[in-house]
C-alpha cells in the first residue's frame, strides 16, 4: 500500500475526519489522487475481508482526480468535500457500473445515469471510489440472518464473527474500518441507525424528503431516506450540506436545503431533552447496562434540561410493517409474481415478500391513518421537547454465521423512549443521528438523538457536543489484514 506524503501518517489517515483531510489537501500535504489511491487500495484489499465491497469504482475515480488535483494546484478551493473519497450503498445508481441492490437476481443490473446524490457530490468534487454491499433489497420482506446479501454476510470490523448490521452493512463497515472517509446509506426503518451503532460510527438519517432518492432503489415510497455514515457528526453535516436540496425528480422531495451553521446553534442549556432513565438502566441487555448508565451521566453533565419522557402509546411495529410490506409488494409486484423472487438468498425474505401480496387496501389505509395519528402525537410531544435520546439498540450485534436470535430477552413492562423509537421516528419522517458511546466486549454501542422535522442542525449540534466531551468516536477497530 503506497504511503502518502502527509503529516497524517498511514495509521491516522484512514480515520481522519473530513476537515483534517481537507486541510491536508489545501496545504498540499497530499493530492486528491494520492488520497483516492490510498483509500481505493484499502477498499479493494480490505473490504472483501468484510464482505463490504460490491464494486470498486477506482477506474471512474481515475478519470476525474486529475481535474481535482489541478484545481488544488491553482488554489481553487470549492468546499470541504473537494478531493475527499467516498463510497455509496449499492442501491444508489452509478452510470455504467453494476447496481445490484445486494440481490442475485439483479447482479447484472446497470443504469444509464447517476443518482442525484452522486451528481451533487460530483459537483462538490468529492471522489467516488466504491459501491458498498447491503442486505438484499434493503431487507424488504424481512430476513433471518446476515447472509441475506449477494456479497455474503456483512462482517463487523470490530469482530469478524459478528454482523455489521443492516441493511447498509457495507457502508457502515467501510467507514468503521477506515476504507472510506464517508459513505452514503439508506434507511426505511433502521438501516442507517442499526449498522451505524453496531459498527461504532456516526450515522445520520435526515428528515424524509430532505435528500433526493432519485436513482436509488425504492422499498417504501413514503419511508425511504438516504443518509450518511462518517467518523463524526460534523463530517455528516458537511456531507448533508452538499446532498440535501430540492429535486424535481424525487416526488417525495421536501424542496428544502440544509445549511450547516455550526455557529448558530442553540445553547445546550436551552434544550429540553426527552429521555427515560429505564432506557439506559433496565432496557438494554444486562452486559451493556453499565456502559449505558455511564452514557446517561455524561449526557446529563452536558447541561441540557433533562425531561423524563415516554413515547406516545401506539403499535408502531404493525403500522410500519404493514406500510413497508404493502408498498414493497407493489414496487416488487412483477418480481414476486414472476418467481424471480426465488433467486434471493434468504428464505424468510422470499416468504415475506410473497406473503406481503396478501395485504388489503384496507390494511394499508388503516396503517396510513394511524400513521397520521402518530404524527399528530409527535407534533404535540415536540412542543414540549427539543430532542429525544435513547440507546440506538438495546443489544450487541448478532453473530454473522447464525440465524438471528428470535428469543425475546426479558425486558421491563414499563416503556420509556427507546422501545419503538426507530419505527416511530421513521413513520414521522424525523431526523436522527446515532453516535458511538462505548465498547462492550470489544463491540460498539450507540446512542440515538432524534429531533422534529428539519432539525438536523440541532441534533448534529448535540451530537457534536457529545463527541467534544467523549472519545468513543475516536476509537477504531483493530487492524484488518486482507
Amino acid at each position: 500500500m503506497g504511503k502518502p506524503h502527509s503529516k497524517l501518517d498511514e495509521s491516522t489517515l484512514p480515520f481522519a475526519t473530513i476537515p483534517e483531510l481537507s486541510q491536508a489537501l489545501r496545504q498540499h500535504e497530499i493530492t486528491s489522487s494520492e488520497l483516492a489511491r490510498f483509500f481505493g487500495k484499502r477498499l479493494e484489499t480490505i473490504a472483501p475481508t468484510l464482505n463490504a465491497l460490491a464494486c470498486s469504482l477506482l477506474k471512474r475515480a481515475k478519470d476525474v482526480w486529475g481535474d481535482v488535483d489541478y484545481e488544488f494546484k491553482r488554489e481553487r478551493f470549492r468546499g470541504p468535500l473537494q478531493g475527499i473519497p467516498y463510497g455509496v450503498k449499492d442501491l444508489i445508481a452509478v452510470a455504467g457500473y453494476p447496481t445490484t441492490w445486494g440481490a442475485k437476481p439483479y447482479a447484472n443490473q446497470t443504469f444509464e445515469k447517476d443518482a442525484t446524490v452522486v451528481d451533487r457530490l460530483d459537483g462538490a468534487d468529492a471522489i467516488l471510489i466504491g459501491k458498498l454491499s447491503m442486505i438484499e433489497l434493503a431487507g424488504g420482506g424481512g430476513y433471518s440472518s446476515a447472509s441475506a446479501s449477494l456479497q455474503g454476510p456483512g462482517l463487523n470490523p470490530w469482530n469478524l464473527q459478528h454482523w455489521a448490521g443492516g441493511s447498509s452493512s457495507g457502508s457502515a463497515a467501510a467507514v468503521a474500518a477506515g476504507l472510506v472517509p464517508f459513505a452514503l446509506g439508506s434507511e426505511t426503518s433502521g438501516s442507517i441507525l442499526t449498522p451505524g451503532c453496531f459498527c461504532g460510527v456516526t450515522g445520520l438519517r435526515p428528515t424524509y424528503g430532505l435528500v433526493s432518492r432519485h436513482g436509488a432503489m425504492a422499498l417504501s415510497w413514503t419511508l425511504d431516506k438516504l443518509g450518511v455514515f462518517a467518523h463524526t457528526a460534523e463530517d455528516c453535516a458537511l456531507v448533508l450540506h452538499v446532498i440535501a436540496g430540492k429535486d424535481a425528480d424525487d416526488p417525495g422531495s421536501a424542496g428544502k436545503s440544509f445549511y450547516y451553521t455550526p455557529d448558530w446553534y442553540q445553547k445546550i442549556s436551552d434544550l429540553k431533552i426527552g429521555f427515560a432513565q429505564i432506557d439506559f438502566t433496565e432496557w438494554p441487555d444486562e452486559a451493556i447496562r453499565p456502559a449505558f448508565s455511564s452514557v446517561l451521566t455524561t449526557v446529563k453533565a452536558m447541561g441540557g434540561q433533562m425531561v423524563e419522557s415516554r413515547l406516545p402509546d401506539f403499535p408502531y411495529s404493525p403500522v410500519i410493517g404493514t406500510i413497508i410490506d404493502s408498498e414493497a409488494a407493489s414496487i416488487f409486484e412483477v418480481f414476486i409474481r414472476s418467481g424471480q423472487v426465488d433467486g434471493l438468498a434468504d428464505q424468510d425474505q422470499i416468504a415475506g415478500l410473497k406473503a406481503s401480496m396478501n395485504y388489503s387496501a384496507l390494511d394499508y389505509l388503516k396503517a396510513m391513518r394511524v400513521r397520521a395519528q402518530i404524527q399528530t402525537a409527535f407534533r404535540t410531544l415536540f412542543t414540549d421537547l427539543d430532542l429525544l435520546i435513547a440507546p440506538t439498540r438495546f443489544n450487541l450485534p448478532d453473530r454473522a454465521d447464525q440465524p438471528f436470535d428470535e428469543t425475546q430477552p426479558k425486558r421491563p413492562d414499563q416503556r420509556g423512549v427507546g422501545f419503538g423509537l426507530v419505527q416511530a421516528s421513521n413513520l414521522c419522517g424525523l431526523p436522527a443521528i446515532t453516535v458511538p458511546c462505548g465498547l462492550v466486549n470489544g463491540l460498539p454501542i450507540g446512542m440515538q438523538i432524534v429531533g422534529p422535522p428539519f432539525s438536523e442542525n440541532r441534533i448534529i449540534s448535540f451530537a457534536r457536543e457529545f463527541q467534544r466531551r467523549t472519545e468513543f468516536h475516536k476509537q477504531h477497530p483493530p487492524p484488518i489484514t486482507a
Binding site: 481535474d67 469478524l160 396478501n358 388489503s360
Partner: protein, 107 residues
C-alpha cells in the same frame, strides 16, 4: 415521469429509482466532471467493457444455516400468518372517521 427502464438484464422493473433524467432535461446540471467524461468519451460502439473489481467470491465467513425444521412452505405459511396477525391488530385500532391517511396527493 417515474418509470423508465434502466439498462438491465431481463428483469422487470417498476421502481422510482429508474426514472433517470437525461442530461438535456430542464434543470439538469452538467458538472465539470460529467462534461469532461463526455468530451473524452469514445463512441459507445468502440468501448470495450472492462469488468470492475467486485467482491471476492465466495464471500468470507460461514453463511448462517437456515433455521432448523423450516421448509420454504412452512416459512411461507408463517409469513402469511404474520400478515393475517398484522391485519387483525390493525383492525382493532380505532381511528376517527375524519382522519385522512398520512399522504397527500399533489396534482
Amino acid at each position: 415521469m417515474l418509470i423508465r427502464l434502466g439498462v438491465y438484464s431481463g428483469l422487470p422493473s417498476s421502481f422510482y429509482n429508474v426514472g433517470m433524467r437525461f442530461l438535456s432535461a430542464p434543470g439538469s446540471q452538467i458538472t465539470r466532471r460529467r462534461l469532461a467524461a463526455l468530451l473524452g468519451a469514445t463512441p459507445l460502439a468502440a468501448q470495450v467493457p472492462v469488468p470492475p473489481v467486485t467482491q471476492n467470491t465466495p464471500p468470507i465467513g460461514t453463511p448462517a444455516a437456515p433455521r432448523a425444521g423450516a421448509t420454504p412452505e412452512e416459512k411461507l405459511k408463517k409469513a402469511n400468518d404474520g400478515v393475517r396477525e398484522m391485519s387483525a391488530r390493525l383492525s382493532k385500532l380505532e381511528v376517527a372517521m375524519d382522519t385522512e391517511p398520512a399522504f397527500v396527493f399533489k396534482p
